[in-house]
């Protein structure tokens, strides 16, 4: 054995002996409060806070509807934008300012959200149907608005000229950019103007011609597609958790798996709770962050589990709780700094990036911190609990550990 003294730069000193396992009870309390609080927040958002009204601030990908980014040439007030859009006949309009510059209520860049995917509401469609029920000699046999709200399908019983149908639609208040007639002149497909064009018209009508500088982005999601994404999202999160639990169960044993899963659930719920509290936009990118957190949070857990397993084999005479506590202490540097380096990066993203990346970074921040906490205060205690339960029920210990004991006993 060398007597060399090694001088390492350490922030967390070697041989630290903080009490983790002993504090487990208070940790349980904190965790329970956080989890219950998160779930409660979802309900509060939906039923109590009027201005929110939904469990989470779903992005357009999940909610369905249309979201447009509008940029004006000069500063405009939020209320003016909303009034202008609603003046165009749209309902369920929500306007949010984004980007730098301007005051808190005025600015140049806005995010306009609405429930509609189509320029024609069902009521307007019904009214139009009544108006064009007869054109000249021909009667309307069928009228259907496509689910995406972008096409109207018409069928008449006698052939008509394209121009006649177009003018009839126009007088019924339906502007078609494209009217396609089938070869027989009986069926028509009227393609309606895009929402962005309609919104621009409404904005410029109220705020002046040429007021709109640019519409850099439009996203339009049908309600069905949105719902499907929600369902798939939940499946993806659960699927990832199951996969990881299986893997941990494979690499360690049945006592460790549940601990990992509980820690993951804990992290996911609290991260979502953070979004419920701050009501930040929960979009597809945020869900991606949750999945990334699931993959990452289990890293710390594995580091600690690894050490627990190694120490259990080494210090068989000590009490389980002490071994686990020692393991946590020994790996403290590792646990803290792997999360730390990730935090450097996500904090930077949170501060300097904008838009959807910022929300993503926020989720990652919460997730990384909670993830580290849960590896120490959730995963490890569960391992202790399960091991004690197994011992109390007289379950057999892992074969390799038994063999090792026997082998060592013989060597002595």
């Amino acid at each position: 054995m060398s007597d060399e003294k090694h001088k390492f730069f350490e922030i967390i000193k070697t041989g630290s002996d903080y009490e983790f396992v002993g504090r487990a009870k208070s940790a349980y309390a904190v965790s329970t409060v956080l989890i219950v609080g998160s779930i409660l927040m979802l309900f509060i958002n939906a039923f109590v806070i009027k201005s929110r009204g939904r469990v989470l601030n779903w992005g357009v990908d999940f909610r369905g509807g249309t979201e447009l980014q509008v940029e004006f040439k000069k500063d405009v007030a939020i209320s003016a934008v909303r009034a202008a859009v609603e003046g165009g006949g749209f309902t369920g309009v929500d306007v949010v300012r984004y980007g730098a510059g301007g005051g808190s209520d005025t600015g140049k860049k806005f995010l306009v959200r609405m429930g509609a995917v189509s320029v024609i509401s069902p009521e307007k469609a019904a009214a139009a149907k009544a108006k064009i029920s007869k054109i000249g000699e021909a009667s309307l046999k069928s009228f259907a608005l496509s689910e995406g709200g972008d096409v109207i399908y018409l069928r008449f019983d006698k052939p008509l000229e394209n121009a006649a149908v177009r003018s009839a639609l126009s007088s019924a208040g339906v502007e078609a950019t494209d009217l396609k007639q089938d070869g027989l002149g009986l069926s028509y497909e009227a393609r309606l103007i895009g929402l962005d064009v309609e919104v621009t018209k409404a904005l410029e009508k109220s705020l002046g011609d040429g007021a709109v500088e640019d519409i850099p982005m439009v996203a339009s999601v049908g309600a069905k597609a949105g719902r499907q994404l929600q369902i798939d999202g939940v499946k993806a999160v659960l699927g990832a958790m199951v996969l990881i639990m299986l893997y941990v169960g494979l690499r360690f044993d049945f006592r460790y798996g549940p601990g990992a899963i509980l820690a993951l659930l804990h992290d996911s719920i609290i991260t979502i709770g953070a979004f419920a509290l701050t009501y930040r936009e929960f979009s597809l990118t945020t869900l991606a962050a949750v999945l990334t957190i699931i993959g990452f949070s289990v890293n710390d857990t594995i580091v600690i589990f690894d050490r627990i397993r190694e120490n259990l084999a080494r210090y068989r005479d000590r009490k389980l709780e002490r071994v686990v506590n020692l393991s946590i202490n020994e790996t403290l540097s590792r646990t803290i700094w792997t999360s730390g380096t990730l935090l450097f990066v996500t904090l930077a993203m949170n501060i300097f990036a904008s838009g959807v990346i910022r929300d993503f970074a926020f989720a990652m921040n919460v997730g990384v911190i909670v993830g580290t906490y849960s590896s120490i205060y959730v995963a490890a205690p569960v391992v202790i609990w399960l091991t004690n339960r197994a011992a109390a029920q007289g379950k057999s210990v892992r074969a390799s550990e038994t063999t090792r004991r026997r082998r060592d006993a013989e060597a002595v």
Binding site: E4, L284, V303, M349, V356
Partner: protein, 585 residues
């Protein structure tokens, strides 16, 4: 070896880096390494659409037609019956008196024996229940989706989008058009979403108008004029003229240029068919095709919805493949009108503006008809042609409307702003990590930093090699990879420190550190990988880009953080045999 890989990576990255690279690098290198990193839709702008094919509506409409067709046939035999449509696939006939149910017999149902099954017959109550054959329904769905994709592809091709993506995902069609200019958004949306129509239109090549057009064609240009005279059964001579050219766009341009006197008459239009090229003496030139234009009546005489069935069959005598089709009652009437008055003329079968085939009308056709395809030497090819036509007819019989379920249009300016911000974040975050590693782990920290930077280079090179799209979340993924890159090193280094404290020599501490920590590092990476793979299968578009960069980052990280650092440590430890006691860690 690592040096070689690094050089390779840098070369791969080359094309993605603009300007100065171009001048300094020898030409042969540039020829091999041509792939670039593609900016994703959200960075360069473009259109992302998802359409679902409304199969249910199409099938429902089809069963409606079958029901009304059977109704017409029955009506000649008896008046006392009621038809109810149940669900999408079922038709219920109720007869009064119940004994009349026998009138709905095999003869009446003959035309539809392939399409519908009789699933119950209750002579006592006078009820017969029919249902659309489930295999048919599934087949229809397949055809509709496939045809939908082909149609859209054909339409998008005309716009000259650089790298369009059109694929099937479940029951949806996903279309990504990166780099499309905002001016084109509306137009493309219109064109893409149109329901493909199958139409039967009469060809009118014998018109005087065609002679005028033919005369206007300049000699020796791209367009060839081929006269096709024929005599009808009354002995009248018709002088058909066809104009041909190897490239369709030339033909379309020529047609577009017909103005003034030569303007296309209001009730006519041009259709285009791709046919086998033939040399002047009439023999065909294998492997070459030309496009020929037909002057068509604008109004279709029959459309695809009136088709009841189409299948491949073989001529009894010549054994040549042909297409046998059946019209429903209303269609039969229309078809009789079309074919009865125009024997000898050609009937163009047009799908979505493209003429699939233009057979000559040999005799009047009512409910059943046969299309014999032109004389091709190769019987296999003829059979393929026939199969294609059957597919076209079948899907044309069921026009399935496309309904838009998702749309995202991004202008080109959006990307520039957000990327600039993200770049800052990445630099500052990376700087903080680099600084930390240096202070905390000294020289070993330097090794970790070098490994991390190489990791980024490798990641970008792999992205370039696969021409993967880099989206905004993808950039976030890169940034994350930077944060995660040093994790492996931290785990290994802490282990090495423990070993050193326990008294091992430098070399054995390094060995022990790397080998003991390897499995922990491996586990951590595998779990991250699992999450990333799940994300890839769930997400689409930008999210996929994120998942891809994450996966690449994790894999490349294992290479750099574990193997490359190990190699660099070896350098630091010096030659074997010289025992070092301490290392800077």
């Amino acid at each position: 070896m690592w040096g070689g890989i690094t050089v390779l990576a840098v070369l791969y990255l080359g094309p993605s880096i603009p300007a100065p690279y171009d001048q300094k690098v020898p030409a042969f290198v540039k020829r091999i390494f041509t792939k670039k990193i593609q900016p994703g839709l959200d960075l360069q702008g473009g259109l992302h659409l998802v359409y679902s094919v409304d199969i249910d509506k199409a099938i429902g409409a089809k069963v409606d037609r079958i029901a009304s067709d059977i109704e017409e046939r029955l009506a000649v035999k008896t008046k006392g019956f009621k038809i109810d449509r149940e669900g999408r696939d079922e038709i219920l006939f109720t007869f009064t008196p119940p004994s009349d149910s026998a009138k709905l017999d095999d003869k009446v149902l003959d035309n539809y024996r392939n399409a519908v099954d009789e699933i119950s017959r209750d002579s006592g109550a006078g009820q017969v229940r029919l249902r659309l054959d489930p295999d048919q329904a599934a087949e229809v769905k397949e055809y509709a989706l496939r045809q939908g994709i082909e149609t859209i592809r054909g339409r998008v091709d005309k716009f000259g989008v650089a790298e369009p993506t059109i694929l099937k995902r479940g029951d949806d069609i996903v279309i990504e058009l990166p780099g499309l200019k905002p001016e084109d958004f509306e137009r493309i949306k219109q064109i893409i979403g149109r329901t493909a129509q199958l139409e039967f239109k009469l060809v009118d090549d014998g018109a005087e108008y065609m002679t005028k057009v033919a005369a206007s064609v300049t000699q020796g240009g791209k367009i060839t004029v081929v006269p096709e005279p024929w005599t009808d059964k009354n002995g009248t001579q018709h002088n058909n003229i066809s104009i041909r050219t190897p490239v369709r766009t030339d033909l379309e341009a020529f047609v577009a240029g017909l103005t003034g006197e030569l303007e296309v008459p209001k009730d006519r239009e041009f259709g285009y068919e791709e046919i086998q090229a033939s040399s002047p003496d009439g023999t065909e030139v294998v492997g070459k095709t030309v496009w020929r234009a037909y002057l068509l009546h604008r109004r279709a005489s029959v459309t695809g919805e009136y088709l009841a069935a189409a299948e491949l069959s073989y001529d009894q005598q010549t054994n040549r493949p042909e297409v046998a089709f059946t019209m429903d009652r209303q269609g039969a009437v229309l078809m009789e009108r079309l074919t009865g008055q125009n024997v000898g003329r050609k009937m163009a079968i047009v799908l979505d503006g493209k003429i699939n085939s233009a057979p000559e009308i040999q005799s009047q056709i009512g409910e059943r008809g046969r299309i014999t395809l032109g004389g091709f030497g190769d019987p296999f090819k003829a059979q393929q042609e026939a199969k294609d036509l059957v597919a076209v007819l079948r899907s044309g019989a069921l026009p399935a409307p496309l309904t838009k379920s998702y749309e995202s249009q991004v202008g080109p300016t959006l990307g520039a702003d957000t990327v600039a911000d993200a770049k800052w974040a990445m630099l500052i975050g990376a700087f903080a990590v680099v600084l930390f590693m240096l202070i905390y782990y000294r020289t070993a920290g330097v090794i970790a930093n070098i490994a991390m930077m190489l990791n980024v280079v490798f990641m970008l090179a792999i992205l370039a090699a696969f021409e993967a799209a880099l989206t905004l979340p993808g950039i976030a993924g890169l940034v994350l990879a930077v944060g995660m890159a040093v994790d492996a090193n931290i785990i290994i280094y802490e282990r090495i420190r423990e070993e050193l404290r326990a008294g091992k020599s430098a070399r054995s501490a390094v060995d022990a550190g790397f080998s003991r920590a390897f499995w922990t590092v491996f586990d951590a990476h595998v779990t991250n990988l699992m999450a990333a793979v799940v994300l890839y299968s769930y997400g689409s578009g930008p999210i996929r880009g994120f998942a891809v960069t994450l996966v690449i980052g994790i894999l490349s990280n294992i290479a750099t953080a574990v193997y490359m650092s190990r190699w660099m440590f070896e350098l630091m430890l010096g030659r074997r045999g010289v025992v070092k006691q301490t290392i800077s860690i």
